[in-house]
Symmetry: C2
Subunit: 367 residues, 2 copies
């Protein structure tokens, strides 16, 4: 446990590091938003004050990702888990069509399992037998007459695998869980039917799920779906079907403004994310007698750098030394073991440099 | 719009006023929790730091409401709206039983509508024809062989009606939406099958729903329910089925500690809440030529004081004068009109005194 009051470099996979200037802003107006006399935690979701933040969040995201007018932006609760259920419930009921799932890691596997319980879902690719170390490369020859959607996870947080671009799935709409690489680079929204993300990696605090959905995919509203699980209910009410997670939306608005302001925009962010990831992968590749990267080189994530030790007994020593150096939350997910360094947008280059140096020194001392 | 930087008295129905000391605490550790080096927004939901707050929230609530071991405490997302769906989906599927709903205001009506879409739900009492001004008083003669549960809303936020105690429903388990009067007084949890509340009135920020459920009511986990909608999934995973709304849970832990500390505990809070409500109802009753309370006197809420003007044109003048006096968010819900003063636990006595004085002076000047 740390006993400094200064900030550490926190490599948590999520909830994860946020920009320090955003935290400072939140702290400075926690007692009273400027000119309001109440905290963001205390104002009505239908009042002027929150409405302004809701619009800043929505418009900011629309501008940042160049989201076309043909798409709706929704702010929901329930995380990816609720999306896992909403997708088959909205798009497989009342149709003979199936859904196609590419299972490239733990989250895709769980999404498929939920879809199989709620509709006709088919696994069209799985990396499980290989231990989730690679990704599909060939285009999927699928027909929209047979499949309602093609589901994939753009970045598997636990295994540290990331698609370099959108997979090809014929004329079947892509649905992407982008929770752990949302807003890490510019993308072409037109390629997606739905792209969604929980906020707690690149976008804000836990408790907010951001959904960008092509309007023509939104159900008619005449369904027998549970109200909260119907995309129509949220779209028709501008994300105010019920009280949304107001604080998380406010923080998201601030993060978006940081991204486009001080952070230099999405192109610059992507360049920086690549530099950060390369620093770590270069050390892993240099010390192949000590470290072993989890994913195949061409599938490596720029967000979650996952590796193990040839000598697994080194793990605890590595973690203890890192903690002492102010480098925290580096333990890998229990299903994969080893180390996971999550280096989202808000992780400063300096933090990654410090970790790369630590890894270098550790390998030299223990190789 | 206000331009002071000092805090106003905010009578919002929710999200609503929080204790100032809680906000100060949040602000002071937003950049770094003491000894941690990261914000509460940035730490893993499975790590030591958050686990401590999760336990403080759960144990604090258990101690405060004397929740017996036979009950589980769950921290969920999705608000009352998701509970509206989860209740019939968990308790009406695979059974011939019905659910009984008492409709005493807008929220009970919406809960019933959702239950009717998802199962066999029966309205056993409705105050709608009378405009939601009163409550059922006679015991309901219901049989647990016919009904899975009896649903009611302990305090209707929009109409300002509050049950003085739990209704009697034979041997049928009570399910109570206590969103807007949770933790306003001591209650006997043994009377309930489930009592739940969204946090954003008496307990914390929006985005957290607190569910206290009798363990024997939790489904077996073998159902075909969507995962997130299965109480079993949350109970079996200690509210960590997926990433919970960590910040809201942390704030809830602080609110609970404030309630039992500086605020003097639940008995004291109840006494104060009664004093606060009486101040306002006394002015309403004194100036019957100006004000007209919405609920019948014996059904009046101590949390939401709802009234109108005999001369409805006075409303805007009242609101403008209140705003100038630093008394904000007093407009009634659009479906009822008039004024709604929400005076939850965190609204200081001084704020209510100031409002009562303002109402007194306003009536004298405009009567």
């Amino acid at each position: 446990m740390h006993h400094h009051s200064e900030r550490v470099y926190n490599f948590s996979a999520g909830p994860a590091v946020l920009p320090k200037v955003v935290l400072e802003r939140i702290a400075s107006e926690m007692i009273s938003l400027p000119g309001v006399g109440s905290s963001i935690l205390e104002v009505s979701h239908r009042g002027k004050v929150f409405t302004e933040y809701l619009n800043r969040a929505r418009d900011g995201l629309r501008n940042t990702l160049k989201v076309p007018d043909e798409y709706e932006i929704l702010f929901l609760q329930g995380g990816s888990r609720l999306q896992f259920a909403m997708l088959p419930m909205n798009f497989l009921r009342g149709t003979q069509k199936k859904a196609a799932y590419a299972v490239t890691g733990s989250w895709g596997k769980q999404a498929l399992a939920e879809a199989e319980r709620l509709g006709k879902a088919e696994c069209v690719w799985s990396g499980e037998d290989q231990g989730f170390v690679d990704l599909p490369t060939a285009p999927f020859q699928l027909d929209a007459n047979d499949y309602s959607y093609f589901y994939y996870v753009s970045n598997e947080t636990i295994q540290g695998l990331q698609f370099p671009g959108e997979p090809q799935a014929g004329d079947v709409p892509l649905i992407c869980d982008a929770s752990s690489d949302f807003l890490h680079k510019p993308i072409d929204i037109n390629r997606y039917g739905i792209i969604y993300a929980c906020a707690q990696k690149n976008a804000g605090p836990a408790g907010l799920t951001i959904v960008i959905i092509r309007k023509e995919m939104i159900p008619s509203g005449n369904s027998d779906l549970p109200g909260y699980l119907d995309y129509h209910a949220h779209a028709a009410n501008g994300s105010l079907f019920n009280t949304p997670p107001t604080f998380a939306i406010y923080v998201f608005a601030l993060v978006i403004e940081w991204l486009n302001g001080e952070a230099g925009g999405l192109e610059r962010m992507y360049e920086l994310n690549h530099r950060k990831a390369k620093l770590l992968y270069d050390v892993i590749d240099r010390f192949q007698g000590v470290y072993r990267g989890h994913a195949k080189a061409e599938c490596r994530s720029v967000m979650n750098v996952v590796f193990n030790f040839l000598d697994e007994s080194l793990k605890e020593k590595f973690l203890m030394g890192a903690e002492t150096a102010g480098l925290t939350s580096l333990a890998g997910h229990r299903s994969v073991g080893g180390i996971r360094a999550s280096i989202y947008n808000a992780m400063p280059l300096e933090g990654v440099e410090k970790l790369a140096d630590y890894m270098f020194d550790f390998a030299e001392s223990n190789g």
